[in-house]
Amino acid sequence: MEVAVENMPWGVMVILLPLAGALVCFLWPRRSVPLGLLGALGVVACVTGLCWQVVEQGAQRYTVGGWGAPLGIDLYADGLSLLMLMMTAVVGLGISIYSSGYFEHKTAVVFWPLWLFLWTALNALLLSADIFNLYVTLELLGLSAVALVALAGGADALTAAMRYLLVGLLGSLCYLLGVALLYHSFGSVDIAILAERMELSPAVWAAVGLMSAGLLLKTALFPLHFWLPPAHASAPVPVSALLSALVVMASFYILLRLWLEVFPPGAAAAGQLLGLLGATAVLWGGIQALRQTRLKLLIAYSTVAQMGYLFLAFPLGTSFAWKGALYLLLSHAMAKAAMFMAAGNILRFGGHDRIADLDRVAQRLPLTLAAFSLAGISIMGLPPSGGFIGKWMLLDAAFYRGQWWWALILIMGGLLTAAYVFKVVGYAFTQAEVTHEASRVPAGMEWTALVLALAAVLLGLFAPWPLALLDIGFPFSGGCAE
């Protein structure tokens, strides 16, 4: 029995299971909710298995079909991909539970197959060991995400989805052109082989530029963020949550992989530029979030700002800074999903998400409001949340490298975040009378939001374990890493 668990190709299962789930949901639409939930639980189990395997045996490489690189497809799981998979599994499970109460039957039959396809693509992306496979999975992810945004059906959502699709395709084509140039230069698309053969040439510079630009567009780094707020705000709530928490981080993950392992060390000079753009995103996104009058748009702009934080690690470049950024990413995913879910509950309960009129709603949904506040604590980076740990590590790295101005950005970003979070939370404490009939919010939806938010906060108290996990396979030792 134990041998079976040890030898199970968990990494492959992690991709096949949601795919199978999606197909089954598609074939039996009447049972899509229980089948989808079952699929989600199955993925969580497989990721747990993979986690066990990686911790026990170190980084894993699977040769799918036995073909091997360069013709076949390799899957590779090290600490970095494992942590991202785990985070996806936790948030994904939360989104699944939330969605089971959110959608009406007519939408649910479309949502579940698409969501599980998206999950498949995301897991495959996180396990891909070559840059072409990354392109394919990124494209699959983008297409299913666009379809999910369009699910809301209104004119806003459809135009936002259209824009999202065009931007996404543009980004992936830029990336693909870069892949072509790298393949031409080194005769391989395998990340490990590329890392070995890497040397500088004009074609490589062009490839680095194209791939980075495409990925930055998809990660919505300022000033390429214009498409994100409308898409994230007009989608159905569970979709907003998974876009802001999971989909955006996929392109960041690819960029991080390439930066750490493939790109030539000379590219580090561009780190200052990325840091600068990140800093602008932090401030611009924060200010825009503060100016919004609708809750979902506020949260969407907050995502723009939070993505900016991640890029502050590029100019710092120490392994401590990378881990800090990843920890921010991790806690942001949970907190942001919880925030969107809380917004969804408020929307369902009061029928609107105008911030100025929240007072009549907020007081009657204490669990939801607690979820929003706890998520806000993590996003602000107040202790003891996961966001605090990430921010602490970035601050520490900034002082260590003597680049204190990034610390200033981190602090100012935190203050802006506090301003827009409390702009919302403050409405819980008013003497407003309840004036209208409210629709009921299922308890599952309230509790999912609360549990995810709580997880984001408690992440701060259990940092050593995930951080140690990150070292498996030494993802922070090659390329531009120092």
Partner: protein
């Protein structure tokens, strides 16, 4: 994994006695008054007992410490009980018990009580955490938790004024927290450690850049100064007066301003080391800042007609005595500062309880309405009088002991100017308290009070009356029995012998 034995578990238990009831209370329906009261009181009493055990243990040389690794590389959350923590923990535990009784009486029948008592318990948890923190990051964690748990208490009433005050409070404290965070990270980067030790970790650094150390000191003090209401960072405190009376009492006597003052004591004594801080030349400016705050707060208090606002400015002034005592640099002045941490808490909480009683029973908020109020509420006003006289520094009350040691300490340290500040401040104290006392006892009462509530033959509800009487008694006791063992003064001396040990 560190073995959890009884000694390390004790500190966690002390935290849990308010954290667990608080979390449970959040989920209680409004009308479950009996369970809520039991939880509140039970937690407070158990905490007090555990603190008693802690005092016994510390005196008998037990080492209390609990660690939780926060980040690899030696960054831990540390709970640690030394003599200073015990002083602050005891103060919090005692005053929490009386404030809980008071709050139960004060909020009887009002809305959102589960929410109130939930955050109230979290607030005390945070304060105790601040007291027990064994290094800067643990301190920071609880310091921020304190900000978050007091905000809902300040805006509790939900009026536009309260929400405005809440916003101002957050603006100040979140910004202060950010400064403290930057200072802490920078300190960690320079010193590699920030555990609280008797001589201070910074004092042991040989090759550190002194300008950088000064800059870090300024950041830390600025961050802490917000809560300690040092001028010019005091603006939030008078506005926070819109909070319900038990909250103001807690804020002014134990929780928020004390956390700031205690933090300053920690930074000067246990992070930098008081002698090293003096050699760095940062204690002089800090003393001047504290002196300015003392005078400024008293001057502003003179011109307030609203009783709670006058008390608020009085707090601005009085808390800086603690900072002054530390910044004067000398064993005797440090004793004065530390003992004032306790004494100011006892006196100020009494004053706020009494102010709350006047508002709740008679609807009196302004000093101009207090004529002859001593005849209507003699017990309340007797407690008020004792506390006010203590604040002025009349012997043998608690405030006198503080001021005596501060003055002696300043002379001992050769900083004679401080004595003039103390004398001037006492005059101002008298200037803003004595007219109130005169009006209370000797002027004729009006025909009718603004909004009187009847409590039968008693002047007010017992839950409102007992707490100020108890704390007023403690004010007398702390002064009269100052040289008895276990008095705040003796404990402050005990601490100081450790800080200044050769």
């Amino acid at each position: 994994m560190r073995r959890v034995n009884w000694d390390s578990g004790l500190l966690l238990l002390i935290l849990a006695t308010s954290l667990v009831p608080g979390l449970v209370i959040f989920f209680l329906p409004e009308e479950r008054v009996a369970i809520r009261t039991t939880l509140n009181m039970g937690g407070a009493v158990v905490k007090l007992v555990l603190v008693g055990v802690l005092i016994w243990g510390v005196l008998h040389g037990h080492q209390y410490e609990t660690r939780l690794p926060l980040l690899p590389g030696g960054l831990d959350l540390v709970l640690h009980a030394d003599a200073e923590s015990v002083l602050f923990v005891t103060l919090s535990a005692v005053l929490w018990l009386v404030t809980t009784i008071y709050a139960i009486g004060y909020l009887e029948g009002s809305q959102h009580r589960s929410r109130f008592f939930g955050f109230f318990s979290l607030c005390v948890t945070a304060t105790v955490g601040v007291a027990l923190a064994g290094n800067m990051i643990t301190f920071l964690v609880f310091y921020e938790l304190l900000t978050l748990s007091t905000y809902p208490l300040i805006v509790h009433r939900g009026t536009e004024e309260a929400r405005q005050a809440g916003r101002v409070y957050l603006r100040y404290t979140i910004a202060g927290g950010a400064l403290l965070l930057v200072g802490t990270v920078w300190l960690y980067d320079v010193a590699g450690s920030f555990e609280f030790t008797h001589r201070g970790v910074v004092a042991g650094l040989d090759d550190a850049d002194r300008t950088v150390l000064t800059a870090i000191f300024v950041l830390l003090i600025a961050g802490l100064g917000v809560k300690a209401a040092l001028v010019p960072l005091h603006g939030w405190l008078p506005r926070a007066m819109v909070a319900p009376a038990p909250v103001s009492a807690l804020l002014h006597a134990v929780a928020v301003v004390k956390a700031g003052a205690f933090g300053i004591v920690r930074v000067v004594d246990d992070v930098y080391g008081v002698e090293f801080a003096a050699s760095l030349g940062v204690t002089g400016p800090l003393a001047v800042l504290a002196a300015t705050t003392i005078v400024y707060g008293s001057l502003r208090a003179l011109f307030q007609d609203n009783l709670k606002r006058r008390l608020a400015y009085s707090t601005v002034s009085q808390v800086s005595y603690i900072v002054l005592g530390v910044a004067v640099v000398g064993p005797i002045a440090t004793v004065g500062g530390l003992v004032h941490l306790v004494h100011q808490g006892l006196m100020k909480i009494t004053l706020f309880f009494c102010a709350g009683n006047l508002a709740e029973t008679l609807g009196v908020h302004n000093i101009s309405d207090m004529n002859g109020i001593g005849r209507r509420m003699p017990w309340t006003m007797a407690a008020f009088t004792i506390a006010a006289l203590g604040m002025i520094g009349v012997p043998p009350l608690a405030g006198f002991v503080s001021k005596w040691y501060l003055g002696l300490g300043a002379l001992d340290a050769g900083q004679d100017w401080v004595v003039f500040i103390l004398a001037g401040s006492s005059l101002l104290n008298a200037g803003y308290f004595l007219p109130v006392l005169y009006a209370t006892w000797f002027k004729a009462p009006p025909d009718a009070w603004p909004a009187e509530r009847s409590y039968g033959r008693r002047e007010t509800a017992w839950a409102l009356l007992a707490p100020p009487l108890v704390t007023a008694l403690l004010v007398v006791a702390a002064g009269l029995l100052a040289s008895a063992p276990f008095s705040p003064l003796q404990w402050a001396r005990f601490i100081t012998t450790q800080e200044y040990a050769p």
